[in-house]
Structures are given as C-alpha cells and as structure tokens.
C-alpha cells in the first residue's frame, strides 16, 4: 500500500505542471466521513466559510479515487481523469477532517498512521478528528499519533468546528 502511494506521488510530480493550472486560491480541506448526510452538511458549512473540499468515505478512497470500479468492472477515461484530479487535489490539502468509523476495514487511526508514514508535507498537515466516540482512550490515542484536535460529534456545533478549521488553515497560510 505504502509503495503504491509513493508511486502515485511520483506520478503526481510528473504531472505537476498540468495540475497547477486548475489550482484555485481557496484552501482545500480533505473530509473523510462515511455518513453522506453529515458529509454534505460538513461540505456545505466549509464552503460557506470559503473553503474548498475534497471528500472520501473510506481510507482507501481518501488516498486515491478508484481507477477500477468494482461494480462496473472496467476502466473508463472519466475514471482516470477523476483519479488524476483527486491526486492533484491531495497535493493541495491543507487540513484533514477525519471521522473515526469509516467504510471498509480501516478506520481513522489507520488513516493517520498511513498519512504520517508518507512523511514530507503530510506530516505537518493538521488533522481534526470529529468522531461520535467520546472514549477517553481513543481521544488519547489520536492525540498521541499526532492529531491536532479531537471533537465529539453532536456535542459540538458545526460552526465551532469549522471556525477552528478556518483558523488552522489560515495560520498555515501565514
């Protein structure tokens, strides 16, 4: 998996010049959240705060748009374009909004570990965990592996979290 990511990174660098043209000025936030309703609310609110969003519902997809769709079982040009765009977007990600429970076998912890393992710029990207688990142990674990903030869903107003995101992203820019 890690090798794959490296390979992908290499490819991204090759196509750097092409991608730069599509870059917008808005800071990009990667939202990893499995619940579609919540995802939509989060995206809406982030955009309201003048932030760009790229999203995924599983760890696998967070690192790359699927080249091969299991359901379709064939690769289309559209798919490849989407994948390339996703990778280009990943380059610009300034902050990760992460849920703990995700689609698939891997959860938020696995995501953070993989991200940190990539090193480089990924290590410095702030990660906000927004989970429905208020378990002390889990919170401690996330903070230990380098997560900046831990929010419990429902107990926090969306605007409060987004304000935090905004301030973090802007500090980064400065």
């Amino acid at each position: 998996m890690e090798q794959e990511i490296e390979k992908q990174n290499a490819e991204i660098q090759e196509q750097d010049c092409v991608e730069k043209e599509v870059i917008t000025k808005k800071p990009l936030v990667l939202v990893v959240e499995d619940d579609l309703l919540l995802l939509e609310a989060i995206e809406t609110m982030l955009r309201k705060y003048d932030l760009d969003v790229v999203s995924a519902r599983s760890v696998e997809r967070a690192f790359g748009a699927p080249i091969k769709d299991e359901e379709v079982k064939k690769v289309t040009v559209d798919m490849i374009q989407k994948a390339i765009k996703h990778l280009a977007d990943l380059e610009r990600v300034k902050l990760v909004w992460l849920d703990h429970n995700l689609i698939g076998k891997e959860n938020g912890v696995d995501f953070v570990k993989k991200l940190k393992a990539n090193g480089g710029k990924w290590e410095k990207i702030p990660i906000l965990v927004v989970s429905n688990t208020s378990d002390v142990e889990l919170r401690k674990k996330y903070l230990d592996i380098g997560v900046s903030h831990y929010f419990v869903k429902a107990e926090n107003r969306l605007s409060d979290i987004v304000t935090k995101v905004k301030s973090l992203v802007e500090n980064k820019n400065n």
Binding site: I42, N132, S134, K153, A154, E155, L158
Partner: protein
C-alpha cells in the same frame, strides 16, 4: 460381685476357719499322743524294773539260803551287791517316775526292804552263832518279811500294768477321736456347706439370675418374649417372679403405646423435617450455615452445584479456607472483609454487582458472586451465620450486554443527532428569509436536540462505568481552578434564572489527587443541579475548604426544592429522579449523581448530602490530596 460369689465367699471363709480349727485339734491330739507314748515308755521301764527287783529278791533269798547251808561268805557278798544294784535301779527310777501312786508304791517297797535288812542281819548273826532255835526264829521273821517285799513288788508291778493298759486304752480313744474329727471336718462339713450352697443357688440365686438375664436381654433386643418361671412357687422369689411378669406386661403395654406415639410423632417430625430440608435444598441460591468458628455445618444442593465442593468436603471446614474470595484485581479478601465476619461485626454484609467479589470453585475457576450473610445470635451472643450467595456470571454478562447495547445505541444515535444539529445550524445560517415563527420552531428543535445529545452523553458515561472501561487518571490538580471555571461556564444559566452564585474559596487548599476531567464532570453536574433545582432568583453557596491536612471538602448549598425524605436513600441510584422534581418539569436523566458517586468513590473520596424538601440541599465531596 456376683450373687454366687457373694454366697461362696462366706462359705469359703467358714471352710478355712474350720480347717484351721481342725489343724489345731490335730495338733492337740498329736501332742497328747506324744505324751501318752512317753508315759507308756515309762510304765514299760518300771514294769521291767519291778521284774528285775523281783528277780533280785529271789537271788538275795537264794544267796541267804546258800549261806545258811554252807556259810559261804561269797553269798553274803552277792547279797550286798544285789542290794546295791537294787538301790541304784530304784534311784534311777525315781528320776523319771511321774505317777504319784507308783512313786508311793516304790517308796513302800524301799521302806520294806530297809526294814528287812535288820531281820537279815539277825539271821546272819544267828547262823554264825549256830544256835538252831534262834536260827529258826530269825529265819521265820525274815521269811515273813520277804513275803511282804514280794507283795510290794507285785503291787507295784500290778499298778504299773494297770496304768499301762489304761493309757493304751486312752491312746486308742484319741486315735478314734482323730478319725472322727477328720471325717467330720474334711468330709461332712464341706459337703454340708456345698449342699447348702447349691440349695441357696437353686432356690434363690438361680431364679434371680434368670430374671436378671431376661431383663438384660429384653433391654438389649427389646424382644417381647414371655418370662417363664415356676408358677407353683409361693415364696418371696415366686412372688417376685409373678410381680415381675405383671410389671413387664404393663411396661410392654405402655411401651407399645409409647412406640405408637413415637412413631406418630416421628412421622410428623420427619414430615416437617423433610419439608424444611426440601425447602433448604430447593433454595435456588447456594446456602450455607457456619458456626462461630466459621466452620461449615450445613450446605444445600445449590452450594454443591455452584462451588463443586461436595457436602462431605464442605462440612467441618472453614468457609474462608474452602471457598476463597477475591476482588476483581485479584487480591484476596482478608478474613475481616468476608461476608460472615462483616455480619458478625454488624457491618453491611452483602456482595452485589458493584462489590465485584469473586469466589473460587473447586476447580480453581473464579465466578462473580452476589450474596448476603446474616448473623445467628442467641441471647446477643454470635453463634454462627447463614450465607446465601449465587453465581452472577450470567447476570453480569447480561448487564454487560445491556451496557454494551446502551453504549452502542448511544454511539449510533450521535450520528443522526449530529445530522439534526448541524442541519439546524445550516438552516439558521441560511440567507433565506425565515419567518419569526419558523425561527422559533427551529430554536425548539435545536433545544430538543441538545437535550438528547446530553442524554446520550450521560448514558455513555454510565455504561462506561458499568462496563469498567472508564479509567481514572492519577494526577495533581487545583480544585479551586476547576470550580471557578465551572462557575464561569454556567454563569449564563444562573443569570437566566436571575440567580446568585457565591463562592468562598479557601486559598490555602492543597492540590487534589485524582482524575481532573472526571472530577470536573462531577463538579459541573453538582453546580448544574443546584441551578436547575433552585427557584427563580435563588442563591447557590459554594465553598472549598481544607479539612485536616490531607482532605479537601467541596460544599455546594442551594435553597431549592430539596429532596423528599423518602427519596433520600435512592438519590445515588441509577435513573432515579424524585417525584417533586418531575412534577415541576425540570429535565434530567437520573444519571448524573449515579455517575458522580461512582467517580468520587473510585477516586477514594466521599460524596454525601443533607436535604430538606422545600428548604434546600447541601452536597459535599471529600477528596484526598497528594500528601
């Protein structure tokens, strides 16, 4: 001592006495016989003496006649020698002669002999003179005297013989007397005594022995045999037998009556006993009884099933030693912490779900236990105890499953609650024009959502406590800070109710040792409650003080609705809410104080309260410092 022996004993004594008497008599007879023999010997010697004296007399007479005829001087010499011999013999006889009569006769003889010597000397001189006339006269005189001597000797001899025969006769008498005595003493007396003994035995002792044997046999086997006896007897023994038979008949009758009664009572009792046995044995929980040493005296079937120890293995052993008890962390309960010791000491003697005590089965397996012990007291003295306990593994599993379900459900609820909450926010912040009514509705939805979120949070905290997944940190922190922060945090709510919060901090309070966040949760809950349950415009008094050196007391007083007395015991139980609070419509989950108590107790602290309905409530928390 047996009756026969008792009779035998005097008989034996009498026999011994008789034998002694017999020997004494025999000894006497023997002595008498010996005396007679000596006497007889004497008589025989004296007889011989008289015969010799007679012979010597004849010799003397013959010698004198010889002298008369031829005047031989040798004849005179012979006479003199004969006289001397006679004198010496008589003198010898005088030493052993005992019979007075014989002694007298011998003396007579000696006297006659002395007198004859004169006539003999005259005759000798006449012979020497040769005068025939004188010789004739002298001879006549002398001869007359010799006859007398002969008579004297004969009388002595006769007397001697008479005594000898008399003595012999006496001796014979003694012998026959001896034979008679022997016969009487050695044969007749023992036989007579034996006969007497057998007579007594037959008529007195044997019937008594038979009676005794019958009685003892009767006692041993409780047989109902009839006592057979000689019914013709009319003496005391006969009467005794008859009366005994009558008496035993009566005893037998009353015995059988008694037996019937006993059987009836036993049946009744065993019915009762088997009923209580059945009750004990069918008690679904393990039950045991111990004495004041803690030794098991009774166990039921469930005890055997739960512990795997059989009744035989259990009874007589100390319960502490047989079934070991452990806390959840694996430390063994000391003897004083065991149920029965606590019951004896008058302490709370229950193991509940919260105690988390485990017993060890025979195979070493531990199982969670719920139980209760009661002291058995007789006149105020502890004599033992009854313990009832059960294996609550399944209940615990169910409780766990329940808590897990609650936890899972609560987690799952968070996602839709977040959706609601966050979309409300989006709605509120939308630029679309909403009517004031619409805004009001949205506000209400938002409030409802907030309450639900709070409820879910409480449920999760409670289920974490129950599942034991809550872990308390050990850290040093400033309680004053927390209290101040929480007061600030909740100031808005107080202001909304027009309330006043007074805080009196004791600045010298040392730092508290415990889990900062959890204790903050408790403080938050208590402050929130005091605001919630106060009336509009009320006052809340908060203070933090140092008690002793290492104890810190947090105190919060409100003048609110208070807790009704009948509810005060239930205040810390799960999901409990007092009716007076429900009536006034104050929201709550009934979990806050349950969680608070758990956290404070697990932090080695204490939480308690004083309250009066419609007057107010004071809650206290006591925590330890690091010192």
């Amino acid at each position: 001592m047996r009756l026969n022996t008792k009779i035998m004993l005097p008989i034996a004594v009498i026999l011994i006495f008789i034998f002694l008497v017999f020997f004494y008599l025999v000894l006497g007879l023997y002595k008498k016989g010996a005396l007679i023999t000596t006497q007889n010997n004497n008589y025989e010697r004296l007889t011989e003496l008289s015969q010799r004296l007679a012979a010597e007399q004849e010799k003397t007479e013959y010698s004198l006649l010889l002298y008369l005829i031829n005047k031989d001087p040798k004849a005179l010499e012979d006479i003199r020698q004969s006289d001397n011999a006679k004198d010496s013999e008589v003198d010898a006889a005088k030493t052993y002669i005992q019979n007075e009569e014989l002694r007298k006769l011998l003396a007579d003889y000696v006297k006659s002999r002395d007198s004859i010597s004169i006539y003999r000397d005259k005759l000798v001189s006449d012979i020497n003179s040769g005068d025939n006339n004188s010789i004739n006269t002298s001879y006549g005189e002398w001869h007359k005297r010799t006859d007398i001597i002969r008579e004297k000797i004969k009388a002595f001899n006769d007397s001697n013989k008479k005594y000898l025969s008399k003595n012999t006769e006496f001796y014979n008498d003694i012998i026959s007397e001896f034979i008679f005595t022997t016969a009487v003493v050695l044969i007749i007396v023992p036989f007579a005594l034996m006969a007497f003994y057998y007579y007594i035995k037959r008529h007195v002792t044997n019937p008594l022995i038979r009676l005794t044997r019958f009685v003892s046999k009767q006692n041993k086997k409780a047989t109902n045999l009839n006592f057979e006896y000689d019914q013709s007897r009319v003496d005391e023994i006969g009467v005794l037998n008859k009366k005994f038979t009558e008496m035993s008949e009566r005893i037998r009758n009353s015995q059988s009556e008694l037996e019937t009664q006993v059987m009836e009572r036993t049946a009744e009792l065993s019915k009762k006993n088997s009923f209580s046995d059945a009750v004990i044995s069918s008690v679904g929980d393990a039950l045991l009884v111990v004495d004041n040493d803690g030794k098991i005296t009774l166990v039921n079937q469930a005890f055997e099933d739960v512990t795997n120890f059989t009744k035989e293995e259990a009874i007589g052993n100390k319960f502490y030693d047989l079934v070991e008890a452990y806390y959840e962390d694996g430390t063994m309960l000391s003897e004083n912490e065991r149920l029965i010791s606590r019951a004896r000491d008058g302490l709370d003697s229950r193991y509940t779900m919260e105690n988390q005590v485990y017993y060890k089965r025979k195979n070493g397996e531990l199982f969670p236990v719920a139980g209760i012990a009661s002291a058995i007291k007789v006149e105020g003295e502890f004599v033992g105890g009854v313990i009832v306990f059960s294996d609550i593994t399944k209940i615990k599993q169910m409780e766990k499953a329940k808590s897990e379900l609650v936890s899972m459900a609560a987690h799952q609820l968070r996602t839709p609650l977040s959706s609601i909450g966050w979309y409300i926010e989006l709605l509120e912040s939308s630029e679309d024009n909403l009517t004031s009514n619409q805004r009001n509705y949205i506000n209400q939805i938002s409030k409802g959502n907030y309450r639900m979120v709070e409820m879910v949070k409480s449920f999760l905290d409670a289920s974490r406590i129950e599942l034991g997944t809550i872990k308390l940190e050990k850290e040093e922190f400033d309680l004053l800070n927390i209290v101040e922060e929480e007061i600030k945090e909740q100031a808005q709510k107080a202001i909304e109710k027009n309330m006043n919060i007074k805080f009196t901090p004791d600045r010298g309070v040392p730092k508290v040792f415990g889990d900062r966040n959890k204790i903050r949760m408790v403080i938050q809950n208590l402050i929130s409650n005091s605001i919630k349950y106060s009336r509009e415009g009320g006052v809340v008094d908060i203070s933090v003080k140092n008690k002793d050196n290492n104890k810190i007391i947090f105190r919060i007083e409100d003048r609110g609705h208070g807790i009704p007395e009948e509810d005060q015991q239930k205040v810390f139980s799960k999901l409990f809410r007092s009716d007076n609070i429900k009536d006034i419509g104050v929201e709550g989950t009934g979990l806050g104080l349950y969680i608070a108590k758990n956290i404070i107790e697990r932090s080695d602290g204490k939480i308690w309260f004083e309250s009066r309905e419609n007057i107010g409530t004071i809650f206290y928390i006591e925590l330890g410092s690091n010192q």
